[in-house]
Homo-oligomer: 313 residues x 2
C-alpha cells in the first residue's frame, strides 16, 4: 500500500509534515510505503535529521512548485502542474499511490480531486466528511463540513447515502443510523431545504434514517451519520473542535474532550470521488499528520470509495 | 417595574416556574412585581407551599387555558385567547406589565409577539437572540438563533444592526464588534446569502463590522454581536449549550464551562418587536426561571427595544 503525502502543504510544512511521516512510518508495517511529495532537496535534508529506523519505507517524489494557502485553487492548479498537489493527484490518478493526503490549500485539494480522479458517476457533489467523536465511544461521520456552502435537498439526501456506505465499511456498522441536522425533531421543522431533505432521506431505501437531530445531539451517540449542508456543517464542526483548546486553556484534562482535538483523527476525507483523498488542517502538527496517514490506511483497507461507486452507479 | 411570567409554560410547569419566581422575588428590590399568569388555584397552592418572604411582590393573574408545547402556534393562540400566553401578551400590549417571559411553546411566543405588540416598524423579521458566554468574560449576543430558518441577506444585515443596539444598551459597549458567522475569513467565502450579507454589513454605517468569524471563534471574545441565520444559529447555540452537561457528565467543574449551561442566563429575548419578550428552554429549572426574570429586569432597565425602534424607524 502506498500513501502519498504532500510535504509542502500546511502552515508548518515541510518540517511538521516530514516529522509526522517519520513518526507514522516508525509504527507502520512493512507493506506500507509513504510517498512524500515536494522539493527533494528540502525533504531529503529533513529526513536526514530524523534517525528514521522504520519497517515502512519512505519514498520521495520531487515536485518543484508549491501551491500556497491563499492561492486561487483552479488558477493555481492549471498554472502549477508540477506543484506537490498537482503531482499528488497525477500519482493518484495513475494508481501509483492508493491515497493522497495534504494539509495544504483545501480548495486546491477539492478542485484537484474533481479534475483528476473525478466525481463518482451519479454523485451530485462530492463533499468533505468530518469525524465527530461520540460520548459513548467511536465517531459519527458528518457531511458536508465545508465543500458545498449552498446545498439542494437532493445533495443532502445523497450525503446521507454516501455517509452511510462510508460508516458501514469504515466503522463496520451494518445499518448506520443516519440523521439530519435540524432545528427541531418534527419533520416539518427547519429551513425549506432541510424540510425537503427530510422527506427524501425518509424515502430512501438505501439508508436507516432515524430523523432529525439538533445541535445538542452533536456528541450524543445518537447517530452514526450526520447529514448537513457545508455551511452549517463547517460552523458546527469547528465549534466542536474548539472544545479541546478551550478545555486545555482552562487546565482541563479529559479523555473525551481530547478526542475533539483536531489532531486525534488528523484529517477529513473528500467523499464521492474515485479515490482516497484526505485533507488536513492547515495548522497540522506532526501528530495530526501521523494520524492522517493512519486514517488514509484505514480508508484504503475499507475500500469505501469503490463501495460508494457500486451503490450509487 | 412589573415582570409577567407564564406559570404554565415549560416541561416542569407550573412547579418549577413558581419555585423560580419565589427564588427571584427573594432577591429582588421592592419596586419589582412579578406577575404569575396561569390557573389561580394551582399557582396559589404552590405559592402557599413556599414560605415566601420577599420585598418584591408576587401577583397572580388568572388564565384558564394552557397552550401545550406541541400545539400549532397560530391555531392555539386564536383558539385559546385565555391561555397564559394569550393573557400575557394582552397585559404586555396594554402596558400593564413591562416584560413577558415564558418557557412554554416558543412558536406561540413568537407568533403572539408578532400579533400583539407587533414588529417594530422597519424591522424585516424579528429574531431570537442568544447569549453566548465569552472566554474573556461577558457575553456575545448571537442572532438569529431560531426564529427564521431561511434568511435573506437584508435580514442578516438588520440582525447586525439590531444586535449592535442591544449590545450597546444591555452591555454598555459604545461600538459593539459585529461579526458574521461564516466558513472562512475572506469576504468571498460562504453561502450566497452569507456573501451578500457580508457586503451589506460592511456598507452599514450603523455598526462596527469586523468581518467574518468561524465556528471556532464562538466563545473566543472576538465579537460582541454574532450575526447568523436562524438555522445555523440554532444548531450552533444548542451545540454550545451541550458543553456544560457533557462536562458535568465527565465530572468536570469549570467556571467558564458552567456559563454555557442554559440555566446561567435563563432566557433569550425576541428582538425587533415593540416590547420585552423573553423565551426560555422548555426544560427550564427554577434557577433558569430566576435568571430569566433577572434578564427581563435588566432589559427593561436598558430599554433596548425603544432604542432599536428609534434607530431603525
Amino acid at each position: 500500500m502506498r500513501i502519498a503525502v504532500d510535504a509542502m502543504g500546511g502552515d508548518f510544512a515541510p518540517e511538521a509534515i516530514v516529522e509526522g511521516v517519520v513518526m507514522a512510518a516508525a509504527e507502520l508495517p512493512e507493506d506500507v510505503t509513504v510517498v512524500l511529495i515536494g522539493r527533494q532537496s528540502v525533504i531529503g535534508e529533513l529526513l536526514n535529521k530524523h534517525n528514521s529506523e522504520s519497517a515502512a519505507t519512505i519514498e520521495v517524489v520531487h515536485a518543484e512548485d508549491v501551491i500556497d494557502m491563499g492561492e486561487h485553487p483552479t488558477k493555481a492548479l492549471s498554472q502549477k502542474p508540477n506543484s506537490s498537489i498537482g503531482v499528488g493527484f497525477k500519482l493518484l490518478k495513475d494508481k501509483q499511490v492508493d491515497a493522497f493526503c495534504s494539509a495544504g490549500n483545501t480548495g486546491a485539494m477539492h478542485v484537484g480531486a474533481l479534475f483528476s480522479i473525478k466525481a463518482i458517476e451519479g454523485v451530485l457533489r462530492p463533499c468533505i466528511a468530518g469525524f465527530v467523536p461520540q460520548i459513548n465511544g467511536g465517531h459519527a461521520i458528518m457531511l458536508d463540513i465545508g465543500a458545498n456552502a449552498d446545498c439542494k435537498p437532493e445533495m443532502l439526501a445523497q450525503f446521507g447515502e454516501i455517509g452511510s456506505i462510508y460508516a458501514q465499511y469504515m466503522f463496520g456498522i451494518a445499518a448506520p443510523r443516519v440523521a439530519l441536522m435540524n432545528i427541531g425533531a418534527e419533520e416539518q421543522k427547519g429551513s425549506l431545504v432541510a424540510q425537503a431533505a427530510h422527506q427524501l432521506l425518509k424515502d430512501s431505501r438505501r439508508i436507516n434514517f432515524i430523523g432529525n437531530i439538533e445541535g445538542g445531539d452533536f456528541f450524543a451517540s445518537i447517530a452514526d451519520v450526520i447529514v448537513t449542508d457545508g455551511f452549517t456543517g463547517n460552523a458546527m464542526f469547528k465549534l466542536g473542535e474548539s472544545f479541546y483548546p478551550l478545555a486545555k486553556q482552562r487546565g482541563i484534562d479529559d479523555e473525551f474532550i481530547a478526542k475533539t482535538n483536531y489532531e486525534s483523527v488528523g484529517g477529513s476525507p473528500i467523499l464521492g470521488v474515485n479515490g482516497n483523498v484526505i485533507i488536513a488542517h492547515g495548522i497540522s502538527s506532526p501528530l495530526a499528520i501521523k494520524n492522517m496517514i493512519n486514517l488514509a490506511i484505514q480508508q484504503v483497507k475499507a475500500d469505501a470509495y469503490t463501495k460508494i461507486a457500486q451503490v450509487l452507479a
